[in-house]
Symmetry: C2
Subunit: 209 residues, 2 copies
């Protein structure tokens, strides 16, 4: 089966809409984050080489490298979400006829639930990073494409808020509350700073239109 | 050249990131809106037919029809954004050697700028509609996939805020201020109600996790 990233947009949307459990919101979050990173790159690519923006060119060259690396990370997360979901479903399907089987099944579920908490948390972190990269694009990028930096920040923030829901669902089922609370605390910090940042960056773009 | 919707996600992202002016933020906004509509459909498809949700089934069947129609509309908008941008660029490329040529060029630009204001406004309206559809999914959908309704509302809202930037840029260049202000007023109304609605719907989902 081909990877989601290799499927057409239309087919991805068909599969998202279908009654199959995957791809779902976790993959959609990663696609939004990857769109954000791609739009930061677009702003860089349309700024670099323009004499008017020569002063910011070194900074935008660095930004482009960061945005492209982040885009690859986020593209990988489209699949990672499906993989960990499938793994979790496989655990729920384990036999539970004896106490021993029940104990093993529960242990496996708890172990994969930790992964299923960390995978969307990594996506949330990558989206929060995309929010920060869009700030540089909004502040330093070519004014002719500054709206694309505004689209980038909205896509990144939506990806973060979306990934957050998957962290929260899976963390809620974890028995290891110390682990769960640590991940939720990290997520809370990301959400809090990104909310302010996203509003601020969007306004920076609005003021330049 | 094949349409964007028929390209792989990875190729779309490559083209988004490239120094080509299209696809840009306008197409990304339509993709976000289409993801939102697809996720509303997913919630419907995973609720319809479940005995536990029999009471809401008729309403979710109607919602599914609306979400699928909206998804097709938004998929069409991925291309519409590129088409109107290309048309605008063609106008800017018209000759301006004589006063007559200058007048014709300016008239053509102003005419296509109206279209270039209406195209993202239509996308903004479709995304605002996706916000409203996600409310029903969040309130009535299968609890097992309720987070997907939360992702839908974030994607829809990000699509709306993104399309809004393109309305604002193009409206700013319009000489017909009566037309421009009418579109901006309509957009303002959409943004105001969607901001409250999106926060509210996201919280509905959060409370159910």
């Amino acid at each position: 089966m081909s990877e989601i990233k290799d499927k057409s947009i239309e087919l991805f949307l068909d599969e998202l809409a279908s009654k199959q459990a995957t791809p779902g919101g976790g993959s959609a979050a990663a696609v939004m984050g990857a769109q954000a990173a791609a739009l930061v790159s677009m702003v860089c690519n349309l700024t670099i080489g323009k004499p008017k923006y020569a002063a910011v060119e070194p900074e935008l060259r660095d930004l482009l490298v960061e945005a492209e690396t982040l885009r690859q990370t986020l593209i990988g997360m489209i699949k990672a979400d499906v993989d960990v979901f499938d793994k979790l479903m496989a655990c729920y399907g384990l036999p539970k006829n004896s106490d021993q089987e029940k104990a093993y099944r529960s242990e496996q579920i708890q172990s994969v639930l930790k992964e299923a908490t960390l995978v969307p948390l990594a996506c949330a972190k990558a989206c929060a990073k995309a929010v920060e990269l869009s700030r540089i694009a909004a502040e330093k990028g070519n004014l002719g494409v500054i709206s694309d930096a505004g689209v980038a920040v909205m896509a990144a923030y939506a990806g973060l808020k979306s990934a957050a829901l998957n962290v929260q669902i899976n963390a809620a089922s974890l028995k290891d509350r110390v682990f769960a609370e640590a991940q939720l605390a990290e997520l809370g910090g990301l959400l809090e700073s990104a909310e302010r940042a996203a509003a601020d960056i969007y306004q920076t773009v609005r003021d330049k239109l």
